[in-house]
Subunit: 369 residues, 2 copies
Amino acid sequence: MSNSTDDLLPVGLSDRLPEEAAIATRVMRAALQAMDAHGYDRVRPPLIEFEKSMAERMDGVSPRRMFRFVDPGSLRTLALRSDMTVQVGRIAATSLAGAPRPLRLCYAGEVATITADQLDPSRQRLQIGAELIGADSAAAAAEMVELAIESLKAAGAIGISVDFTLPDLVDTLSAQTMPLDETQIEAVRRELDTKDAGGLKAAGGDAYLPLLYATGDFSDSIARLAELDAGGALASRIEGLKTIASRVGGSARVTLDPTERHGFEYQSWFGFTIYAQGVRGALGRGGTYTIGGSDEAATGFSLYVDRLVDALDSDSQRDTLFLPVGHDRAAAAALRANGWRTVAALSGEDDAGALGCTHVLSDEQPKPL
Amino acid sequence: MSNSTDDLLPVGLSDRLPEEAAIATRVMRAALQAMDAHGYDRVRPPLIEFEKSMAERMDGVSPRRMFRFVDPGSLRTLALRSDMTVQVGRIAATSLAGAPRPLRLCYAGEVATITADQLDPSRQRLQIGAELIGADSAAAAAEMVELAIESLKAAGAIGISVDFTLPDLVDTLSAQTMPLDETQIEAVRRELDTKDAGGLKAAGGDAYLPLLYATGDFSDSIARLAELDAGGALASRIEGLKTIASRVGGSARVTLDPTERHGFEYQSWFGFTIYAQGVRGALGRGGTYTIGGSDEAATGFSLYVDRLVDALDSDSQRDTLFLPVGHDRAAAAALRANGWRTVAALSGEDDAGALGCTHVLSDEQPKPL
């Protein structure tokens, strides 16, 4: 991104100049095309909604991060969208409540937040995602993980890896085979989050200690998790994870970190984070959840592709045809129809080379400059 | 647009559901493709900018219409973009100040305003446009009018007509052959705007009366305008209009309304409004201007395509292939690579017909349902 406009734009906001803008467009179209091919229909929700409506559907997750302002018309508080998932959930629960399930929707657009991520100063992100509404089975989850991988590959990502997690792991275990009291649950969750073995013991979570080691390469980790699950409380989850891993194992590296909760505050039994080689940080997250404001099960994912855009190379210079003053307009139009990009001289002063042209129209034919 | 979400979204904001969203995407891509073919590079400015920076570059035109809010970080006032032209002007004057001229840029994105147009309640619009920076000659204007027409045609518009105007007409005439004093100028402009012959006389603008009749079909009107221009103050403008009209006359109906100023507050010698059959109101406007904040001449246009999207028919139902449980995944992937859209069953309960499928995969081949 350009540095020269830093003083002209607020912190965390930037222009995509031509080269980067072309990559961003390419990435977005490729991902949307992959989603479309799998039967996902794009919806286009608005930039702005009622704050209350957005916040209610966010399950209390970070509505404070939204840009908010009063609508001079209704005097109600509006918010700039910070997450399109919430908007798609609203559409599924209202306008498309009567559409057959499972309902496949996808979206792409800019979202903005007041506070930037600690590791990422940007306050506007290009979010692309898909939601499978009315299903949260292992088959649904497998479809979504596969689609996330396929979308990113189509967009140009390489060396993709996917990390699985079980967001409601502690709830499930404590309710069945590894009981904890109310106060212990929070402490155990916290210590698992920080992967602090000592803290976990101190919190009365000795039984949970082995979970810290069921982490890493999927096949080893899932075996360790199964050993730990003596009472079978996780049996269906383990089966589900194996189903998903067997579907995606051929197209991405799969790892397991069953206690990872960061970014999965509203997911139910399954969550995943997706990474690509050469791109710092996660490219996206997804999982199973219940749509806020309705009780419908869903599975979805969001990709934040700005860092991928930053990492990708632009197309090599495109052939561009200079059209001199007085050129044959019909010939130029015919060449454009055949895929040529043209730049027409406005006066005799225009210089083909300076304007980035590679060819010049001469005798109705492109000649290399 | 959907009515069922009216209670869930603020007035003037709406969702584009799948059918309409697909049309909007098709329109946007077709227009951008036409611009790209003529050498226009897309830039992607952010959703939000400093209010001051936006307002200064808007030449005082309606910054009050922007959604504004305080940045909790910098405590400066930010604004949601209401016009991408201003942003492209900023980019041309800063990051791309050193790029060769004429500089061709294009853009597409959502813009939002607080107050809706009286005739149009929508507060968010899809703006698509192109700017030719460093040129405001008749050749530049002709290129832009042609490009606006070609972009709209590519997007599916039919029966296009273009209305030319001379935004600085009164300034030019009063400074040369038809003198008015300071107070008269404003009154004459106002009466010409309302096309009030009586008011024009009362304002001391008798000499300007014939301008009211140099309106309509281009060839007749330009002849009347030339007759009126005894002193030749408009000679270069009339030549320019003829040049532009001769370039675009074959692809659109051309009319002239030399005194039309509404929507051309910041244009210089030339302005145009573009219409299409079956679409209520103007689809876009353009003209020559000076970039706010720099003194560079430019020519550009903006298309607001939401009404075109509303007017266009959706694609007829697409072939969609149902993939039963246990289908051959490689066969399905091969069919997708060949352009098939697929919907995979998540369980035996999924119904191909209800999910909108036209074909089902059987023996690795699509069979019509």
